[in-house]
Symmetry: C2
Subunit: 437 residues, 2 copies
Amino acid sequence: MGQLTFHSETERHEWLRSQADLPAGFKAGVTSFTFKPREMNTTARMNLTLLTCDPPTEKFAAVFTRNAFPGAPVTIGRERLKEKKLGAVLVNNKISNVGAPDGVKNAETVCAAVAAALGIDPRAVLPGSTGVIGWRLPAEEIVAAVPALVKTCQDQSVLPAAEAIMTTDLYPKVRSVTIGDGRIVGIAKGAGMIEPNLATMLVYILTDVDVSRNDLRDCLARAVEESFNAISIDSDQSTSDTVVLISSGKAPCPDLEAFAHGLNSVCRKLAADIVRNGEGVKHVIRVTVTGAPDMIIAKGVGKSVINSPLVQCAVAGNDPNVGRVLMAVGKFIGNEHPDINAENCSISIGGQTVFANGVFQLDPDRETVLRAHLESAQLYESDPPDARGVFTPPVRFPPHEKTVDICVDLGCGGARFTVLGADRTHEYISENADYRS
Amino acid sequence: MGQLTFHSETERHEWLRSQADLPAGFKAGVTSFTFKPREMNTTARMNLTLLTCDPPTEKFAAVFTRNAFPGAPVTIGRERLKEKKLGAVLVNNKISNVGAPDGVKNAETVCAAVAAALGIDPRAVLPGSTGVIGWRLPAEEIVAAVPALVKTCQDQSVLPAAEAIMTTDLYPKVRSVTIGDGRIVGIAKGAGMIEPNLATMLVYILTDVDVSRNDLRDCLARAVEESFNAISIDSDQSTSDTVVLISSGKAPCPDLEAFAHGLNSVCRKLAADIVRNGEGVKHVIRVTVTGAPDMIIAKGVGKSVINSPLVQCAVAGNDPNVGRVLMAVGKFIGNEHPDINAENCSISIGGQTVFANGVFQLDPDRETVLRAHLESAQLYESDPPDARGVFTPPVRFPPHEKTVDICVDLGCGGARFTVLGADRTHEYISENADYRS
């Protein structure tokens, strides 16, 4: 982290392109079409994205949202995990297919169309949807577009797919690593709230490294816990969140541990990209909790800090408001683990100790240093609002990967956990309140 | 609820005055002074508020924050609960006395000064503080101001006290009921985040109704659970939250149940006032959860909805975004109670069913009705931001008591709970991010 710096959208795009080579055995295709939703009187545009693995593979894994009202693609996806093989993933944006009439039936219809075009089993096609909830999936229009979609498939770059799955994302997200003669390449979408109805994170990770189905599933579960489950933009959890990992098995695996390590790295970097691209995000906040009785508590403390609206607002204003951090730590411990003795708790921001032995350590000089730390991590200066009071972020790429670093040492154990979050800005409110859905 | 309407600050003030008669046995005094905090190079102004009960009474109760880093007044207050008698409450604003050097010692010093002036035991004085955290309490300056403070004491109205304990509150909060020949009168401060460092709620409830110490404590614990513990402005929990109930015992209690009922009413109305006065609040949101397996789950679902930033933003924009409500319900159930069968869940907004049988029930006509419900509950129209992009609420009083009414029927039990929350607006961000502490 903290290594990459970009001075323009073009520069970042060139870097993305360099990361996006498809692993052996995979193809990617994209198309789009205009349609008339039944629920409104205008037209809308939908992207379709197809990822194929030829031949279909038994080596695949997936993790889905825990939301009690999952979208139809999640309901189907959970069933697909029991299937022998996976040969394709079909993703649409614009409509999430959540709480919509005939959701599962329509999703199966489009999977069957893809399967027919590719000559594979319909249950070897995994659907994915993101966008407005409640709207009916335009199954007929999607089926009609499938032949054109299949024709666009190529085996060079996953970048067009990373772009096509976007909704309100400001920029595409691609990360990759090399493992022996093979590669792991992941793409992600997600920006907090989408289109503008729902936070949805979709992640597709492709690899040619030959890892068994069971090992893939173990590795993915662990990687997700420390990456996608360790971030929060708005503490809300989509009904569609999905992470998929597929191996074509075309390259030998030099070492399972190296693979797991590479997968963790791709997941952590994509997760950080999602936060950095979060709606209205001006600062990424990294909270490291150490000295905890166990990892669950360390994670809980970290999430309490990054999900505190008061901490988020302070960071947005470059205000090193140490009282709010202490409040958020104490809120979690006092309510969830009142048995913990927190008297040895210490807190630092940007490496400066600000609280220890029950007392704040504040003076004007330290305040200046803390403020400089917050300012250096800012992704952009806000533009003034327009005539209607609407704020729009002035950049469409992340100029750097710096974070606001908050460390909380609970002083009562040996466990640690790191979480990533974001500040709360006028740009976030404008994105989510000023525009009507 | 929903009864009171005010057309001006003056009109509301007159109504407050009519509610504010002190019960028999109590006096209230206020004063203020300017001082130089050690932590900054300017001057600051502090209000002192004194509430006395003459003679000191053994009939008192208090409930404090569960935050693991309580302020010195909370630490002392917990000890005071074991004392035989309570004769006075001393409240200062401006400084919260949290994480400050010599916090307990300084608070005890000012209590002793009040006790000496009143001729009572120092341990019969309860301290309360709200404001900036980390700053040292100016004990010497407070002690010097105590004689003047005692001189201002009068037995007519609690309104000066309700005004003096305010920090960023837009207006004072007083509620009262009559019980037989006696009264219950409560005052509250709290607006989300204070001064601008910390959310702090301080509530003082005075009654002349003669209720035993044990009954008072039982009644208060129950009243708090359904009032102050059923609201959320920003999900953050202050290190200083305090609710105190004192009886002078001067009026006979006609019926303990009537007293408990009256206390509940005062607490519920003060809690609603606090939400309505929350920083940047444009809509109060009332979420009623029914059909739950138990009350804890009903409350959890309600809090998940009112604490969802996406729901909050949608309401701020008068957007009846039913998908976000479903997401928030599903997030809580799926993560905390995945065993619950939620397939019979239904959701209504403003009395209109919007989700049932797993499918949204949306059409353009219903959207119009829902939007009208949100607009009718709006407390004010935002003024445009100033040249620096800062939004300021245009009213300093609540013109009405209408709420955005969301009902969630989980369809899997008989328990219910109602929570109050608020929307998330540019005014909130301006209050908490645009101003530097």
